[in-house]
C-alpha cells in the first residue's frame, strides 16, 4: 500500500490535534485530582463518549469486523447481550456507590467497603493487567502497520531497513500516547477519546454506505449469504447448530451476565470515565449515554466484516493508477484472504484441512477496496486512533491505581498533593515503558501472552459476584470478599484445566489437568469457565461472610444499597433522568434483537 500526500497530510493534521490538546490542557492540570479524575468536572456526554471509546481499542474495531466476517450478525451479541444490560445496570444501580462514596478508584471502593487486602489484591492484579493490555494494543498497531505496508514506501525512500518498521511504529505510538497523557492527564485522554469516537464514525460510516450500495442493500447482503450469517439468534437452541458453538443459556449467562457485568461494572478503565463526571447525575448518565452509540456500533464495525465476506472474489489484485493501492492478498473468501504463517510463508490449515481465513484483515481490506486516496487517510487515521485510545485508556487507569492504591497506600502515605501529581506523571512514563516491554514480549513469545490472558480471565471472571454482594448485601465481609475471589479464580483455573474445546490440543487451550468435558467451541468453554468462577465466588463469599463477624454498619453508609439514602432523580428534563434513559435503551435493544433475530 502506498499512501498519497493527501493521506499523510490528513494523518499529520489529526496527530497535531492529538498533541495540541495535551499541550493546551497542561495549563489546567494543577492538582492530582485534575490529573487522575479530570477534577470531577466533565459533562456527561463527554464522559459517555469516552466511556465507550476507552473500550474501543484494537480488539473492538479490527476484532469485531473479523467476528462479523466469521460469525455474521450473531456478533451483535457482544453488544446487545454482552454490553447494554450491564451498562444500564452500572449507571442506574452501581454508580451511586462508586461516585457517592468519593472513592478515587475501583480498588479504593473495595477498601472502603471491605478491607485493605481485598483492595491490594484488586489493585495489583489490575495494574499488571493494564500494562499487558496496553502492550498488546501497541503490538497490534505495529503489526497492522507492517501487514498493511503503510511505512514500506517512506522507509525505502529514506533508505532505512524494513526490519525497523516494527520498532518505529511501537516507538511513535508510545511517544504520542505518553506525551498527551503526561501533559493533560485523564482530561487529555478523555478529550482524545471523544475525537477518536467521531473519527471512527467519519471513517467507517462512508465505508458501510459504499459496501451496502455495492451488495444491493441489506436484502442483497441476505440473498448472498447463508441465513446463519444474517440472523442473530438462528440455531442458538443447541450449540451444534450455530457458528459460535454456544447454546443460548451459556451465551446469556456467560457473556451477557458474568463477563459483561464483570467488565462494564467493575473495570476501573471504564468506571474512571464516569468518576470524572461533574455530578452524581452526570456520572449515572455516563454509561447510559455511552449505551446509545454502543447499541448502534454493530452497524459500523460488524457490518463491514459481513460485507467483506459477501463480496464476490476479486478477479486479480486491483491496482489503481493514481494511488497505486493493491490488495493485501487476492485469494480467500470475498475480501478475506487466506491466513499465511509469517514464519513459513505457507497458508495455515484449520482442523478440517482447509486453508484458514485471516479474518483480521477483513476491515483493513475493506478500507483498501473502497477508499481512494483522501478517505483512505481518514480510514487509517481512524484505525490508528482506536489503537492509541485503547492504549491510553489502560495507561490512565494504570497511573491512577498505581499512585492512589499502591504508592499512596503502601509506599508513601502522607505526602503533599503535588507529590502525587508528580508520581502520577512518572507512573505514566513507567507505564508506557513497561507496555513497550510487554509489546516486545508479545512479539517474541505468543504463548506467554496466551497464558497471561488466560490468567487475567481467571482473575476477572468472579469479580462481579464480589461487587454485587458488596453493594447489595450488607452482611458481606472483607474476609468473605477476599476468599470468595480466591476461590472463584481457582474454580476458573480448575474448570479450564478439566475441559477442552473440540479439535484443540490439551495445553494452553485447556485440559491441562485432564479432559473431563469437551465443548463445541472455545467461546463456549470461555463462557462456562466464567459461569463456574462466578458461581463459586458468589457461594464462597456468602459462606465465608456468614462465618466471620459482621462489619460495623455505621461505616457502610453510602457503600451498600440498604444503608444508603435513595437518590431522588430531580433533573429538570425527563431525558436527563437515568431511569428514563435506561428504559429507552433496553427497549430499543430488545427491538433490535427482534428485528435481527
Amino acid at each position: 500500500m502506498i499512501l498519497s500526500g493527501i493521506d499523510w497530510a490528513i494523518m499529520a493534521v489529526y496527530f497535531a490535534f492529538v498533541l495540541g490538546i495535551g499541550a493546551v490542557l497542561r495549563r489546567y492540570t494543577k492538582t492530582s485530582e485534575d490529573f487522575f479524575l479530570s477534577g470531577r468536572s466533565l459533562p456527561s456526554w463527554i464522559c459517555g463518549l469516552a466511556f465507550l471509546s476507552a473500550n474501543l481499542g484494537a480488539q473492538e474495531v479490527i476484532g469485531m469486523g473479523a467476528s462479523g466476517a466469521k460469525y455474521g450478525v450473531a456478533t451483535s451479541h457482544f453488544y446487545w447481550v454482552g454490553a447494554i444490560p450491564a451498562m444500564v445496570f452500572v449507571g442506574v444501580f452501581m454508580m451511586p456507590f462508586y461516585y457517592g462514596s468519593r472513592a478515587r478508584s475501583v480498588p479504593e471502593y473495595l477498601r472502603l467497603r471491605f478491607d485493605e487486602k481485598t483492595r491490594g489484591l484488586n489493585a495489583v492484579s489490575f495494574a499488571v493487567m493494564t500494562i499487558f493490555s496496553s502492550g498488546i494494543s501497541m503490538y497490534a498497531v505495529a503489526r497492522l502497520i507492517q501487514v498493511l505496508h503503510v511505512l514500506d514506501f517512506p522507509f525505502q525512500r529514506l533508505g532505512l531497513p524494513e526490519a525497523w518498521i516494527f520498532h518505529v511504529s511501537i516507538g511513535v505510538s508510545a511517544v504520542v500516547v505518553l506525551t498527551y497523557i503526561y501533559l493533560g492527564g485523564l482530561t487529555s485522554a478523555i478529550y482524545n477519546e471523544v475525537l477518536q469516537f467521531f473519527l471512527i464514525v467519519a471513517g467507517f460510516l462512508p465505508l458501510v454506505c459504499l459496501g451496502l450500495r455495492n451488495v444491493g442493500g441489506w436484502h442483497g447482503l441476505q440473498s448472498g449469504l447463508a441465513p446463519a450469517y444474517t440472523h442473530a439468534w438462528l440455531g442458538f437452541g443447541d450449540a451444534r447448530n450455530n457458528r459460535m458453538g454456544v447454546e443460548w443459556f451459556g451465551l446469556v449467562m456467560g457473556l451477557g451476565f458474568v463477563l459483561s457485568f464483570g467488565y462494564w461494572c467493575t473495570d476501573f478503565l471504564v468506571i474512571q470515565r464516569a468518576m470524572a463526571a461533574e455530578s452524581m447525575g452526570a456520572a449515572r448518565r455516563t454509561p447510559l449515554i455511552a449505551g446509545f452509540p454502543k447499541m448502534l456500533f454493530p452497524f459500523l464495525v460488524i457490518l463491514p466484516g459481513i460485507i467483506a465476506i459477501a463480496l464476490p472474489q476479486p478477479p486479480a489484485p486491483i491496482s489503481h493508477a493514481g494511488s497505486g493501492t493493491t490488495m493485501v492478498a487476492p485469494t480467500g473468501k470475498g475480501l478475506v484472504p487466506i491466513k499465511i504463517d509469517p514464519l513459513s510463508g505457507r497458508p495455515v490449515m484449520d482442523s478440517d484441512g482447509e486453508p484458514a481465513l485471516d479474518y483480521d484483515l477483513a476491515i483493513p481490506n475493506m478500507l483498501l477496496h473502497y477508499y481512494p486516496a483522501g478517505m483512505l487517510g481518514i480510514g487509517i487515521s481512524a484505525l490508528l486512533a482506536s489503537f492509541m485510545s485503547g492504549m491510553a485508556g489502560n495507561v490512565t487507569a494504570f497511573n491512577t491505581v498505581w499512585t492512589y492504591d499502591i504508592y499512596q497506600a503502601y509506599i508513601h502515605r502522607n505526602a503533599r498533593d503535588g507529590h502525587y501529581l508528580m508520581v502520577g506523571r512518572i507512573a505514566t512514563i513507567a507505564g508506557v515503558m513497561l507496555s513497550i516491554g510487554a509489546a516486545y514480549l508479545t512479539s517474541r513469545f505468543n504463548n506467554v501472552m496466551d497464558v497471561l490472558q488466560l490468567v487475567f480471565a481467571f482473575v476477572n471472571a468472579p469479580l462481579f459476584a464480589t461487587f454485587l454482594l458488596g453493594m447489595f448485601w450488607k452482611r458481606t465481609t472483607g474476609h468473605g470478599a477476599f476468599f470468595g475471589l480466591l476461590f472463584g479464580t481457582s474454580a476458573a483455573a480448575l474448570h479450564h484445566g478439566l475441559s477442552l474445546p473440540a479439535g484443540a490440543i490439551a495445553g494452553v487451550k485447556g485440559g491441562w489437568i485432564s479432559v473431563l468435558h469437551v465443548y463445541p467451541s472455545e467461546m463456549a468453554q470461555d463462557f462456562w469457565t466464567a459461569i463456574f468462577a462466578w458461581t463459586t465466588c458468589f457461594v464462597a463469599t456468602i459462606l465465608v461472610s456468614l462465618a466471620t463477624p459482621a462489619m460495623d454498619e455505621r461505616k457502610l453508609t453510602g457503600l451498600v444499597y440498604s444503608l444508603t439514602p435513595r437518590i431522588k432523580e430531580d433533573e429538570p428534563h425527563w431525558y436527563q433522568r437515568p431511569a428514563y434513559l435506561a428504559a429507552i435503551l433496553l427497549g430499543a435493544t430488545a427491538i433490535l434483537n427482534l428485528v435481527f433475530r
Binding site: 490528513i10 493534521v13 490538546i21 467521531f198 467519519a202 459504499l210 494511488s323 473502497y370 481512494p372 481518514i378
Partner: protein, 77 residues
Amino acid sequence: MRLDIRLPLGFLFLILGLMLMIFGLTSDPSIYRQSLGININFIAGLGQFVFGLAGVYWGGRAEVRKLRAKGHHGTDN
C-alpha cells in the same frame, strides 16, 4: 474553566472536511472507480465540514457566554 472540547473537535473536522473537499474537486476522477463512481472524498468531506461548523458554532457560543459572564461580574481574571 477549561478548554471546551467542541472547539478542537469542530476545528479538526473543519480542516479535514475542507482538505477532502478540495482534494475531491481537484483529483483525477478515475480514482473514484473503486468507490463505485462516487466522489466519496467530496461527499464525506462536506459532511465533516458541516459537522465541524456545528462544533465550532456551539463551542464558540459557549465560550463567548462564559467570557461575557466573567466580564459582567469582573471578579475572575
